[in-house]
Point group: C2
Chain length 385, copies 2
């Protein structure tokens, strides 16, 4: 028995029922790329849905044939890991509008026979959750044992709890927020302007133009990274360390932190070849997420329909979605007398902490997943009891 998931193969669901979207647009048909790990039990009660964040995708764990890269949450999913694939059947799909297999801006629009590009409709968290619900039906799962996500993934978890209370038993919301702050929106807007003002963007028709807005994408990614890392963590990782051990007094890289950021930007824009229109759509979905908006800006009201049990986790040095943002969710849930656990985890890793090893985080996560497992498999009563 190994404690790692081995080779995995993505699957694809084609949905020919049109999706009516929040924006008022209709997607006539679409594909959802997804992966699964572990086995669905006989009564189909052990299924877990993972929701991914901005630049993530459905490749959460394991590795592809001939590729040593492991999934983005491999540390937390696998045999014996907090999300134990010996116990749970784990599902993750690439968000609609993505660029890793699900229908998105780089896909062909069946109505025109051309690449969607900028014509791909604005997607929202609600649209994602509704398409994920179609996947749930396809898999013949009555209700998820848990829906789990970090950051933008956590927003989808909240939306699941609100829109499909009977299809979600537990909601695990990590390093997330009930809506973006003005500062969060502002960072997204700078990233979008970087992409949209890149001359290679061609108003979003860069695929037809045979180009990629690499410069804009790299800038957007650099800026994103900045907000994922804490000041403390950057300080301890890079400090003012010089790349060549001495100052050169020119515009080449002087400090290690510059080198790191440039590398991350370049990698994202070239090697990973992330679709620029997808990046734009994901940041817009973040901006739009605000479940309280339909309930007089009252998050407690918005969550009043939820019946799931909740685990909320935040990280002390996360300044993108600080613990205070998780407190807002916790308070709204307490207003509804929900079954809730909350952990504020000490970490120096900022927003990125939700992806990284941390004993406290792992302990809380594991304990909660054990609870779910025990609920699904209640211990047999001993004779005499």
């Amino acid at each position: 028995m190994t404690d790692e998931i081995g080779i995995v193969t993505p699957e694809k669901l084609h949905v020919s029922t049109p999706l009516e979207m929040v924006s008022g647009s209709t997607l006539p048909e679409y594909d959802l790329a997804y992966e699964t790990y572990g086995s669905l039990n006989a009564d189909k009660s052990n299924a877990i849905l993972i929701c991914h964040a901005l630049s993530g995708n459905h490749h959460v764990a394991g590795q592809y044939e001939g590729d040593s890269t492991r999934g983005w949450w491999d540390g937390y999913i696998g045999p014996g890991k907090p999300i134990d694939t010996n116990r749970f059947f784990v599902v993750c799909s690439n968000n609609l509008g993505g660029c890793h297999g699900s229908t998105g801006p780089a896909s062909i629009n069946p109505l025109t026979g051309k690449v969607y590009g900028p014509d791909f409709p604005i997607v929202t968290c609600k649209d994602w959750v509704h398409s994920q619900n179609t996947l749930r039906q396809h898999l013949e799962i009555e209700a998820w044992a848990a829906v789990i996500g970090g950051s933008m993934g956590g927003m989808q978890v909240l939306q699941w709890a609100i829109d499909f209370p009977d299809q979600i038993r537990h909601a695990i919301v990590i390093a997330s927020a009930p809506k973006l702050s003005a500062q969060n929106i502002a960072f997204n807007e700078v990233a979008r302007r970087a992409i949209m003002t890149d001359p290679d963007f061609h108003d979003g028709r860069f695929i037809e133009a045979g180009t990629t807005p690499k410069r804009g994408l790299a800038l957007a990614r650099m800026l994103g990274h900045l907000t994922y890392l804490s000041d403390d963590m950057m300080g301890s990782k890079f400090g003012r360390e010089l790349r060549e051990g001495k100052l050169n007094y020119n515009f080449d890289v002087e400090f290690q932190v510059e080198s790191y950021l440039r590398y991350q930007g370049e990698k994202f824009a070239t090697k990973q070849n992330f679709d620029a229109n997808t990046y734009l759509l994901m940041t817009k979905a973040l901006d739009y997420f605000d479940p309280a908006a339909d309930f007089d800006d009252d998050l407690s009201k918005a969550l009043s329909a939820a019946t799931a049990k909740f685990l909320i986790i935040s990280f002390t040095t996360d300044w993108r979605f600080s613990p205070e943002r998780s407190h807002e969710i916790v308070k709204a849930l307490l207003d509804n007398d929900a079954d809730i656990s909350y952990a504020e985890v000490n970490s120096q890793h900022g927003h990125d902490a939700f992806l990284l090893p941390n004993d406290h985080y792992e302990g809380v996560f594991r304990a909660y997943m054990n609870r779910i497992h025990v609920e699904l498999n209640p211990p047999l009563l001993q004779e005499g009891e």
Copy 2:
């Protein structure tokens, strides 16, 4: 008597003595544009030097003929204001490498007859202070009654105290830091990449190419603004207010904060026509500032030569240069038993607070300036005392 400075006219000092720079380069000759307000007293003891920040210039107070725009610190400088021009002779010069009259990348290189552009040497805080010292000699001022600056201006104040202890009586360092953190450098690097990867940058020779890297400059400015404002302040100013009162689900501006940032970026890059090479140079000077580096990374040692009296001011919500960064300066000064005052001012305005009205800030500032005035003009002893 008015409490406002009226029409002012900038002056220019031409320096034909070459400037040996920290980078190893030599500037064969240069101009310094500057302004003065108030009158120099008979013993030339009431002169105050103001040092400007990243995008600032020598136009600190008053207004130019035919232009209603007032100087960037007009609220704090003038008759009866904290820096009282009825008492003090106030001087501010445009930093070398600037784009508002002092020699910079948009100036003609006398050795080639062409625009400097990217060939303008890297300037450092030390170089600025040394050129400002030449201005001091030109004005025949033995010692400044005070050198005052906020943000990057505060760094120049520290450098003055270290390099010319006998020429500075008081050092007022506002919303500053003894060196940039890795995160600070990272923000600068993203701004620089935005400018340098703009195709209109032409490797810095955009003036010869007849272009301006407006897109990059606008992005750099948007990003700068983000770091000048606190999350709290953006929240109370913009919240999630919609520009058109409803969501449109497209890539036009949806939220007021987006509109504000785009406007700031555009204005900077077009109307203000800030020179892109100057922006790059200023951010590099910030990165390089680290007076402790020559003293075994010991700021206390670096400041041991200083004899000035100090006023240090920080603002509670400033996350660009947080109060903790001012504490570092205060501690190093205390190690040297310096004469020091420190105020941590409650403000919701983030880094920008140093430019804005605030009763506590103004009170502390005014009291300290009164102290300087009294030191220069000791009250006559009454008969019998």
